[in-house]
Amino acid sequence: MQNKIFDAENCVRTFGHGKKIVTAVDDVTFDIKDGEIVSLVGGSSCGKSVLAKMMLGLHKPTSGNFLYKGKPITDHKAHWREVQSVFQDPFSCFNQFFTIRSQLKAAFGIYKEKPSNAEMEERVDESLMAVNVKPSEIEGKYPFELSGGQMQRMLLARIFVLRPQVLIADEPTSMVDACVRANILDYLMKLKKELHMTIVFITHDIGLAYYVSDRLFIMHKGKIVEQGSPEEVTTKPKSEHTVQLLEDIPDVNREWIKKK
């Protein structure tokens, strides 16, 4: 029997109060099992990022239960030793005033006891090699000196450094071009294979989700409207929102918008 990593039961998250109340996540029930790659797919403002932040313990549900390994998330530092994330914009994730290498090393601060300096250096080198960047390439460099694709790889290198059990990837490929996207997907697959990670992949591109995931959740206006295996969801979509998402991808072989 596989262990449940995340278990959400009638989760609701609202912002504001009174007349201006906004329900970001609306009565969501799901579970994510150990070693799975799950994709959350939906258009913008459908609540997928709020759900991601809930998984990181940054938001608490307004009502309902949200459990990590059977317990609610209380100790953030302990939680982040096991659950880490990759965000959309790598430039806003790194401090401009420190070199990248020193920031990768600083990631060890999450541990109760830091490994020795030599070991930290070695692990940083290893993880840089894992994302195909020679350590000498970023020696003494600051975040703004690298391109978007390289920075996104630095974020992934940080995951290789920390080796968490769960990775929340919040639109890691929406800022980069198609070549770099294929690259980053390769590294995510590598992470999964080498570290046996559970990955929650958040995206608005159902094509991407189809390619990486074991299970798909389709979200719309805070609700999960459909879930199932990628084959099921893409070939026999039940919800109109899934059909919409599938139709809106520009594909070379299909009619998309009629030009007048």
Binding site: A178, C179, A182, T235, D248, I249, V252
Partner: protein
């Protein structure tokens, strides 16, 4: 039909503070006819956005023209001051739809004021009241709640509304030529479709007719553009009709780009998207030979020494000696 937009051997460079030149755009030539939509695709950092600045004739240091010429309706845009360009060319002849809609709008002004300023700057004899009326007429075409959008601050709008407002402002003065620099790459697929529909609507209504559409999504270009030019390291490596480039690529780089595409169609899961190994050459150093030689899967021994030139292969332009 006569060519409305001509680019001849355009080369652009950035001057760094150490006196080095970075040749971001090299030897780009194309002509466009009235009503044509040209798509330009390429990976990040290949000089797409630099080319846009060059095409508008807007040379703000550190960007400088090296050589070449750009003509709109016969009028040259080279060697003119930024002030002259802003007053006489932008918005009327050539207009640009910028990349990030949020960065393009002043956060402390209402959308209607931003738009009215554009009109007021070019039509000095019009009073504010008339301008607002004209604005309302134009924004009514966009399928949004006109009153709400015009009276909102940029932060109160959704990403799609913001992008549509920016397109509206860019095309207010019915420009001859629109250059759209990645207008949809920050949007989700549903909003992207809405924005593209709006662009098609405006084309149909004759607000503007000629467009350059820049993006890195080749499947999107297939639906939007008539002709596609693929850029790599500052050069156009292949140019042909949309069908030719997408379904029958000839240049090795175009082939590699198509291999990196994803699709949600049935039975595609086994077909892995392949990344192109390596990185594009550093344009600050002088380059001899083919620029793609380092990463080319079908590289020949003399590729690294021989400069490649555009030649015609099967009705399209290809910058590769060995393409069939």
């Amino acid at each position: 039909m006569s060519a409305i937009f001509e680019v001849e051997n355009l080369s652009l460079h950035y001057l760094t503070r150490f006196g080095n030149k970075v040749h971001a755009v090299n030897d780009v030539s194309f002509t466009m006819e009235q009503g044509e939509i040209l798509g330009i695709a390429g990976e990040s950092g290949c000089g797409k956005s630099t080319l846009v600045n060059g095409l508008m004739g807007l040379f703000i240091p550190p960007l400088h023209p090296t050589s070449g010429n750009v003509r709109v309706g016969g009028e040259s845009l080279m060697n003119r001051s930024p002030k002259d360009i802003r007053q006489n060319v932008l918005s009327r002849k050539v207009s640009m739809i910028p990349q990030g809609a949020f960065n393009a709008l002043n956060p402390v002004r209402k959308v209607k004021d931003i738009a009215a300023d554009v009109m007021a700057a070019h039509m000095k004899d019009m009073d504010r009241k008339h301008i607002y009326e004209r604005l309302k007429e134009r924004f009514d075409l966009f399928g949004m709640e006109t009153e709400k959008v015009l009276n909102a601050y940029p932060i109160q709008l959704t990403a799609g509304e913001r992008q549509r407002s920016v397109i509206g402002i860019s095309t207010l003065l019915n420009p001859q030529m629109v250059i759209a620099d990645e207008p949809t790459s920050a949007l989700d697929v549903t909003t992207q479709k809405v924005v593209i529909k709006l662009i098609f609507d405006l084309l149909e209504k004759g607000i503007f007719s000629t467009m350059i559409f820049i993006t890195h999504e080749l499947p999107l270009l297939r639906h939007v553009a008539d002709n596609i030019a693929i850029m790599y390291a500052g050069q156009i490596v292949e140019k042909g009709t949309a069908e030719q480039v997408v379904f029958d690529p000839r240049h090795p780089y175009t082939k590699a780009l198509m291999g990196a595409m994803l699709s949600a169609d049935e039975g595609q899961k086994s077909r892995k998207p392949t990344a192109i190994e390596g990185a594009p050459p550093n344009l600050a150093n002088p380059i001899s030979g083919c620029r793609f030689a380092e990463r080319c899967p079908s590289v020949k021994p003399d590729c690294k020494n021989k400069e490649q030139v555009i030649r015609i292969v099967g009705d399209r332009q290809v910058r590769c000696e060995y393409a069939e």
